[in-house]
């Protein structure tokens, strides 16, 4: 049996287990076990992947298995992974694992909470392993829809509004996406032959330019909305602000990556010429959103808003790098996805924990937390440093790769865009240090913060997992970037030799 199916099976069993479990304790236990198993298996998968490669299997996709599902539409259940998907799966597994522990204290309707959380994760896993546009789309929507309940029920603030807005905008995105996918499908056999949803097959054929130009925007924006592309990002601040901790973690940490991944895997990889034709528009948009998000973050007062805007900036960087369409930049983009996923998840986890103690997210209402909750504060500082690109943490690796990569373009337009994007590292430093300065350092403003408790074991577990992941990538990036570069090498070459 295809090992990848375990990625779907384990969560499924977990869901069933949770459904059968009695009482919050059991529910927690089951989900923790399940997701730990998932994490473990993700590493096993990585190992298997290397093993397969070392045996000299040079296929683009490994562990490929395909069974015909809808004969007439040529829809298959086709799964397979390459280095990118594997790293993405790792990311997802880690973040989910951390998320489970970060939401350890969910009491109300805990069963439903964990079930929807894990369904979300399942959708993400499925998305990353599927090689068939139809199943991809299926998992995509499956991952998006639980957000509504998760935010709506367990959220805070104007949760109904935010949940509805988020869901509708993302679904609007998938509406565009659907059109794009159908367009690709019906052009997948320009010279006769059988239409197909199969990614790898479509990549081989040459879709007529007119069709590409028409459908590229649908597909790219469709995914881009989830990747917080500039004018379509407004679901993100509200959504994150209202979402419960683990949901923000998963959503910003993993779900938003579906956007970038799809933009590359589907939009650009399948419609290369259009990508080249239209890249400039989106380069402008993304380089705007890089700076725009950062500047937006400077002014915010609410921790989650700050982080949401910084996510806009960072994810903008991801799309930006993808659009540079060379090996280095794209590697950087994937690295940035992973690193952003980890650190933004960490941020949201910490924010949740701080909020759980101080019951406010307004930075100007807090101060001097370093004194009372040193552990969380130190971790927060580490996360901050990671996000402003401190060497030795993941952010630096990703950003540098992106900058070096995007600088390989010699024309002024790309150069200027690159330098604009680079300038974000300063602005990022500004808002990160601002928050750290106001929130953690300085004198304690509020006296009954003095008896706040520091992190409990599950909080420590959750945060340390993420921190160590960040540090490992930051200190020894080579294996990861190698893992990612290896499939890219030929994808990019497919993208560039037209």
């Amino acid at each position: 049996m295809n090992p990848l199916l375990l990625l779907l099976l384990i969560p499924l069993l977990t869901v069933i287990g949770i459904a059968l479990a009695k009482g919050t304790k059991q529910v927690r236990l089951v989900s923790a076990i399940g997701m730990s198993a998932q994490l473990l298996f993700a590493f096993v998968l990585l190992f298997l992947f290397y093993k397969e490669r070392n045996t000299g299997n040079t296929e683009d996709m490994l562990f490929v298995s395909s069974t015909m599902w809808y004969e007439s539409f040529n829809i298959q259940l086709k799964f397979g992974v390459d280095g990118i998907s594997v790293s993405m799966i790792l990311l997802t597994a880690i973040v989910t694992f951390a998320g489970i522990f970060a939401s350890w204290q969910v009491e109300s309707l805990s069963k439903e909470f964990f079930i929807s959380l894990i369904i979300l994760a399942t959708g993400v896993f499925g998305f990353f392993i599927s090689l068939d546009l139809f199943t991809m789309f299926l998992f995509y929507e499956m991952a998006v829809i639980p957000m509504y309940l998760l935010i709506g029920i367990w959220g805070s603030g104007p949760k109904e509004y935010s949940a509805m807005k988020l869901t509708l905008m993302l679904m609007g995105g998938s509406a565009l996406l659907l059109v794009g996918l159908l367009g690709i499908y019906f052009n997948s056999a320009p010279d006769g032959g059988r239409l197909t949803f199969d990614l790898t097959e479509i990549a081989k054929v040459h879709i007529p330019l007119a069709a590409q130009l028409f459908f590229f925007p649908f597909t790219f924006i469709g995914f881009g909305i989830l990747g917080a592309l500039f004018p379509f990002h407004t679901w993100s601040p509200d959504g994150h602000a209202s979402a419960p901790t683990a949901v923000s973690m998963l959503h910003a940490g993993v779900l938003m990556k579906l956007g970038g991944y799809g933009c590359f895997r589907v939009a650009m990889y399948l419609l290369p010429e259009a990508a080249h034709e239209l890249a400039w528009i989106f380069i402008i948009l993304t380089s705007i959103s890089v700076v725009y998000g950062a500047f937006g973050a400077i002014w915010q007062k609410d921790l989650k808003y700050i982080n949401a805007y910084s996510s806009v900036s960072h994810c903008g960087l991801v799309l930006f790098a993808l659009l540079m369409m060379n090996e280095t930049a794209t590697t950087g983009a994937i690295l940035q996805m992973i690193s952003h996923g980890l650190m933004t998840a960490l941020f949201f986890a910490l924010i949740g924990m701080i909020y759980g103690r101080t019951h406010t997210r307004m930075i100007n209402e807090m101060g001097g937390l370093m004194k009372v909750i040193p552990f969380l504060s130190v971790v927060y500082v580490i996360a901050g440093l990671a996000s402003l690109g401190l060497p030795g943490l993941s952010g630096f690796v990703a950003e540098m790769t992106i900058f070096v990569g995007s600088f390989q373009h010699t024309d002024t337009f790309h150069r200027v865009a690159t330098i604009v994007a680079c300038s974000s590292i300063v602005i990022t430093a500004v808002y990160i240090l601002r928050v750290v300065g106001i929130l953690l350092l300085g004198p304690i403003t509020n006296n009954h913060y003095l008896e706040l408790k520091d992190a409990q074991w599950f909080e420590k577990l959750s945060t340390v997992t993420l921190v160590s992941a960040i540090a490992i990538i930051g200190l020894t990036p080579f294996w990861l970037s190698d893992l990612i570069r290896e499939p890219l090498a030929h994808m990019i070459q497919n993208l560039t030799n037209l």
Binding site: K165, L168, M169, P231, H233, T234, W235, P237, D238, Y292, F295, G296, I298, W299, Q300, Y309, E327, T328, G368, M370, K371, L385, L388, G389, L390, P391, G392, F396, V397, M400, T401, F403, V404, G405, F407, Q408, T418, I419, C422, S423, I425, V426, A429, V430, L433, R434, G437, L440, L441, G442, P443, T476, P477, F478, S481, D482, R485
Partner: protein, 634 residues
């Protein structure tokens, strides 16, 4: 011979950092202090050993650069690869010695100075991190590794300056330091991008070798009138200027005094601020061969900064600030020296600059630590609250005096030799700059002795609790450093550290040396007249040219300008509008779409009027219209 053990020099402090950082607060504070210090002692020994080995057995007549080891860290393209490694050449080895020495002193000193502080362990972990990143910076084999540790230096300085994190001023200062240097680093980064793109390598050896891609075939591309190489080098220098607090990026340095004094010593004397000098020196061949213009820029910036800082230093009252500005002006010296230097046999300036870096490290560290011990005794930074301390703390007094004499350039103390070389080089290259530097020499002597007299002589005021000499852990480093600053001048530097590794012929220029000493003496006398005894003259002078005085006292109001730019321009006029725009325009559009839909649904609700006749009417007329439509479309 095999230098791979040098890996320890990098590894040890990092491990110390992790160890003390993670479990430091669990164990007894003293223990962590001892741990850190011994660790650093080991490193120091190792680096001395290395230096000895390196300088004694040189193959051929020139010193060769040795890559002790390196491993692949990250690969960008098949050409652009980041290695982490250790590069040993005269420059780095010299820096190794300097850094370890000063750091060791500071470590020992801190044991006494920081005694009983809350974050004792924390300070040692940070110090270790700082040392580690600093060493990594100087030992870097390629420019990108340098950038990595460059950033680490920035962060660790952030941590150290913000050591007293409950003090808002400290937090602000740390933030300022980091952001300003970060801004400079942006330039550095872009510079690296440009340089690496056109040379296709990060490696120093390739970059600086005469037949390397940078020098042999420099990029011909031109952007806005300047060759891209010049752009690159200027941007890289911007990075250096940021770290070395050259004008106009100097504003963070004085505030950095918020950190504990030993830290200030570390940052200013040996390590952080001279990084810029080191950077330029490291890339000197490229500067010299491909873009002399940027060398000129460096020269002018350096000379201006030195003058500017010296003038400000004359007015400051906070002793640490005085020292800070003196550092600025000394680094200005070094920059000037690099700017005026030639290559090979003309490489006097280069040599001199690094020589000054070498000597300056010791006496500036000495000055800071001395100041620290004074502050420790008086619990104040302001010289107005001091005076007549010589009888309370003799050791500090003597060592401080030595330091002042050294920096003033009084022979035969080390400062004289290095500064003299610089002046010679300047004289040969550019008379005007020489004049400025000569003047600055006098100013230096003046403000240093202003400081000295104010602290140790002046009025014998009485203190509510009598100050006393600092403990041995603080005085011993003082003494050692004093010795170093006396004798370090006699190191045969021109044989060791030169542009091309070949020994350099230098001769003594009386007609330069004499005037420089003279003006120094004049400065000393002048300040003695003003400050030796408590008298109203200084105030009278200050008041007589009050306008200028306050202007200078407020450091030419440059901080205010920056503050205005950051807070009013960036915060108010960019980020606030952006936030507003996002909430109201972008988000508003999204909501508008929703509201429009709802509006329409309200607008057409009359259709469902509840009157069946209208339903029938809609039905039939709808059918008829459909018929018309289809017939029309056919």
């Amino acid at each position: 011979m095999d230098y791979s053990y040098t890996l320890l020099i990098l590894l040890l402090p990092f491990l110390l950092f992790l160890f003390i950082g993670l479990i430091g607060n669990k164990m007894k504070p003293q223990l962590s202090g001892v741990l850190g210090t011994t660790g650093l002692l080991v490193i120091t020994v190792l680096s001395y050993f290395t230096a000895f080995n390196y300088f004694t057995n040189k193959t051929g007549e020139a010193f060769k650069a040795i890559e002790a080891f390196q491993f692949l860290w990250l690969q960008f393209t098949d050409k652009l690869i980041i290695h982490l490694g250790i590069l040993l050449d005269p420059l780095s080895v010299m820096m190794l010695v300097v850094i370890t020495t000063v750091s060791l002193m500071v470590h020992i000193y801190s044991m006494g100075y920081m005694k009983g502080e809350v974050g004792f362990a924390r300070s040692y972990s940070f110090l270790s991190l700082f040392t580690c990143s600093r060493l990594g910076l100087v030992l870097a084999t390629n420019i990108f590794q340098m950038y990595i540790f460059w950033e680490l230096v920035g962060v660790s300085s952030y941590l150290l300056i913000g050591f007293y994190y409950e003090r808002p001023s400290a937090v602000a200062a740390a933030k300022k330091a980091f952001i300003v240097t970060r801004f400079a680093d942006l330039g550095f980064l872009i510079g690296i991008l440009i340089l690496s793109f056109y040379t296709n390598t990060f490696d120093f050896n390739l970059l600086t070798s005469d037949d390397g891609p940078a020098i042999a075939q420099p990029a011909t591309a031109v952007f806005m009138g300047l060759s891209v190489t010049t752009w690159a080098m200027l941007l890289i220098f911007m990075g250096g200027a940021g770290k070395s607090a050259m004008f106009p990026l100097h504003i963070w340095l004085p505030d950095a005094m918020e950190g504990p004094t030993p830290v200030s010593a570390l940052i200013h004397a040996a390590t952080m601020v001279v990084a810029g000098v080191y950077l330029v020196a490291r890339l000197f061949p490229i500067y010299h061969f491909t873009s002399p213009d940027s060398l000129n820029v460096i020269m002018y910036v350096g000379s201006f900064t030195s003058l500017f800082a010296a003038i400000i230093a004359c007015t400051q009252l906070d002793i640490k600030r005085v020292l800070a500005f003196s550092t600025l002006s000394q680094i200005g010296y070094m920059m000037v020296a690099l700017g005026v230097s030639g290559y090979g046999s003309e490489g006097l300036g280069y040599m001199a600059s690094l020589f000054h870096l070498f000597t300056h490290a010791f006496f500036k560290a000495l000055l800071f630590l001395g100041a620290g011990s004074v502050i420790h005794a008086v619990h104040s930074n302001l010289m107005t609250e001091m005076g007549g301390l010589k009888k309370y703390m003799p050791i500090t007094h003597i060592t401080f005096l030595i330091a002042c004499l050294t920096i003033a350039g009084i022979p035969p103390l080390s400062g004289f030799f290095s500064k003299d070389e610089i002046l010679v080089a300047a004289f040969e290259h550019n008379k005007m700059v020489f004049a400025v530097q000569w003047l600055v020499a006098g100013l230096t002597a003046f403000y240093m002795f202003r400081l000295y007299f104010n602290i140790f002589w002046s009025s014998n005021r009485e203190y509510h609790h009598t100050p006393h000499e600092s403990p041995a852990s603080m005085t011993i480093p003082l003494i050692l450093l004093a010795v170093a600053s006396i004798f370090s001048g006699f190191v045969p530097f021109h044989d060791l550290v030169t542009t091309d590794g070949l020994p350099l012929q230098t001769e003594f220029h009386a007609m330069i040396a004499v005037p420089s000493v003279a003006i120094a003496v004049v400065g000393i006398i002048f300040s003695a007249m003003l400050y030796f005894r408590k008298n109203p003259k200084p105030e009278s002078i200050a008041t007589s040219l009050s306008g200028i005085y306050t202007f200078v006292y407020h450091k030419f109001y440059i901080d205010e300008v920056y503050l205005f730019i950051t807070h009013n321009i960036i915060f108010q006029f960019i980020s606030r509008p952006v936030a507003w725009f996002d909430r109201h325009i972008v988000d508003g559009t999204m909501n508008l779409i929703g509201n429009t839909t709802v509006f329409f649904s309200g607008a057409i609700k009359r259709m469902q009027s509840g009157h069946v006749q209208w339903y029938i009417w809609y039905f039939t007329s709808g059918a008829l219209l459909l018929v018309l439509l289809i017939l029309y479309l056919n």
